[in-house]
Amino acid sequence: MSVVVESLLRLGDNGLILSHRLSEVVGKQPILEEELASANVALDLLGQSRLWLALAGEIEGEGRDADALAFFRDVRAFRNALLVEQPNGDFAFQVARQFFFDAWHHLVLRGLTRVTDHRVRDIATKASKEVAYHVRRSGDWVVRLGDGTDESHQRMQTAVNELWPYVDELFMDDETDVAAHAAGVGVLHAPLKAAWDTLVQDTLAAATLTVPPASKWPQRGGKQGRHGEHLGYVLADLQYLQRAYPGQSW
């Protein structure tokens, strides 16, 4: 598979899997306003994913459209980061996962608005406006929960600590990243780490939360297709209908 396709799948799968996780908690949010906000984020991510996957399929040129890529790949062919496949947990966990992702996602999309490939630029330009709102919202929640009650502070700190080992993967560039960057369709992620650190440290400080120490052995492999045990269950639900009734229109 070409590095271009591979790098687009990474973008598309992050959106698809995180929107799936958010879809699992529809109707179960603690505040009605958050139902709207959370569904909104899920919709944005799903919409972006459709664009990235469609472009991946188009460039691949083997007749796979966004649906074929979403519904007919098995777990080892998915390219999302491990962070976004983590199960929902409590609201603090959802907020931490979202904030870590959004902060990274926004930086990546801003970078993608400046690559040479205009198709990638166009999607990134649209998406980065949406994600600018996502990161404001999730960052606000980190602060509210961190600087809320003792219980919320504790939960928020636990969530930050538990998800911390999944952050480094977002900034590790492999051969695909390097090649996609050289091909004018991708960005290098390592250089974005400093800006991410600044935003996250400032936000955690405002939230009276402690920044965890660097992970000694960060978790990685998602974007190369080495996932955790949870993703298989996501796909079982996500793909059930297409696999049970293949080749039909809906």
Binding site: S19, H20, S23, E24, V26, G27, K28, Q29, P30, I31, L32, E33, E35, L36, A39, N40, A42, L43, L46, G47, S49, R50, L53, A66, D67, A70, F71, D90, F91, V143, R144, L145, D147, G148, T149, E151, S152, R155, D237, L238, Y240, L241, Q242, Y245, Q248, S249, W250
Partner: protein, 309 residues
């Protein structure tokens, strides 16, 4: 009283009643019950449809369904706001839902078993809801009437989307047609029950009609719904599960079979297939999320204190 007389005159003259105006206590209470029940239905209604977002058959349908369920949360919000103008707090309304004191539409106590259920809910359940709500755009209470205008617009959009998704099934494989017919068989009668008990057994109706917060009777609306739905079903090429359904030339309406009101009463009383499950979902969202609401309140207080320093 002169106030009461003046109130009724304004209602009779189709002048909207606004929040700060004088209104009979019974009018206020009836409206609170009616609006909040509608709001609760939007909230609980997210569950049976939300059940299929993760399993929608393609990405476009997934996005449409997610957006639809999001709209329902939005409708819940407008309607709670409309109820709040009558002097009841959202907290109190939520408490009534969580404790089971307040009702929500019984239709949401049926399970969504296949993808076709999602389309059929859009077509029939939203269709029945719109039939109920369109007259309420002209109801006497201003905030409610205005909320209904917005809700009806969105619901009509949902209904068209639901019907469109059924057209795809109707033109699809034998399995898809069977799935569609099966969903219709399960949802048809509960949809007819959405209009409430027969007029003969319906309470409060006369007063509500005088107040213009109920503009047509249950049976009138049900008949309109049947009349509207039959040709749509024919166009889809599916059979409504009612052997007694036929055009009555004399009445100029479709006759339809006897509704199983015992089932309706059982479901209203809490014994439908999903009543417990829905209430458990509502309760766990509420109680498991209490710490989040407390945290948000605590943070808001801290922020306000810092600003005044």
């Amino acid at each position: 009283s002169p106030e009461a007389r003046r109130f009724q005159e304004r209602v009779d003259a189709d002048i909207r009643i606004e929040p700060r105006e004088w209104m009979p206590e019974a009018y206020r209470k009836t409206l609170i019950r009616q609006i909040s029940q509608h709001a609760h239905s939007e909230i609980v209604g997210m569950l049976p449809e939300g059940n299929w977002i993760t399993r929608a058959p393609n990405l476009e349908r997934k996005a449409i369904l997610l957006a639809k369920v999001q709209d329902e949360a939005g409708h819940g919000l407008y309607l709670y706001s409309a109820a709040e103008t009558l002097g009841v707090s959202r907290e109190e309304l939520t408490r009534q839902l969580v404790t089971g004191e307040a009702k929500y539409s019984s239709i949401f106590n049926y399970p969504t078993l296949t993808w076709a259920d999602i389309g059929v809910i859009g077509w029939l359940v939203d269709g029945a809801a719109i039939m109920n709500q369109i007259p309420l755009q002209r109801c006497s209470y201003g905030p409610y009437a205005r909320a209904m205008i917005r809700v009806c617009k969105e619901e009509s959009f949902h209904q068209r989307q639901g019907y469109a998704s059924l057209m795809v099934l109707a033109k699809g494989s034998a399995e898809q047609k069977e799935m569609l017919q099966d969903a219709l068989n399960r949802w048809w009668w509960p949809s007819l029950m959405m209009f409430g008990p027969p007029d003969a057994e319906s309470v409060h109706s006369a007063q509500s009609a005088r107040w213009k917060i109920k503009l047509f009777s249950n049976d009138e609306l049900r008949q309109r719904f049947v009349d509207q739905t039959v040709p749509q079903a024919e166009y889809l090429g599916i059979t409504l599960p009612d052997p007694d359904l036929r055009w009555n030339e004399e009445r100029g309406h479709y006759d339809y079979g006897k509704i199983d009101w015992a089932e309706f009463q059982a479901v209203v009383a809490g014994n439908g297939p999903c009543n417990r499950q829905r209430m458990q979902s509502v309760n766990s969202a509420f109680y498991d999320g209490a710490w989040v609401r407390e945290a948000a309140a605590a943070h808001a207080t801290k922020t306000a204190e810092r600003e005044t320093q």
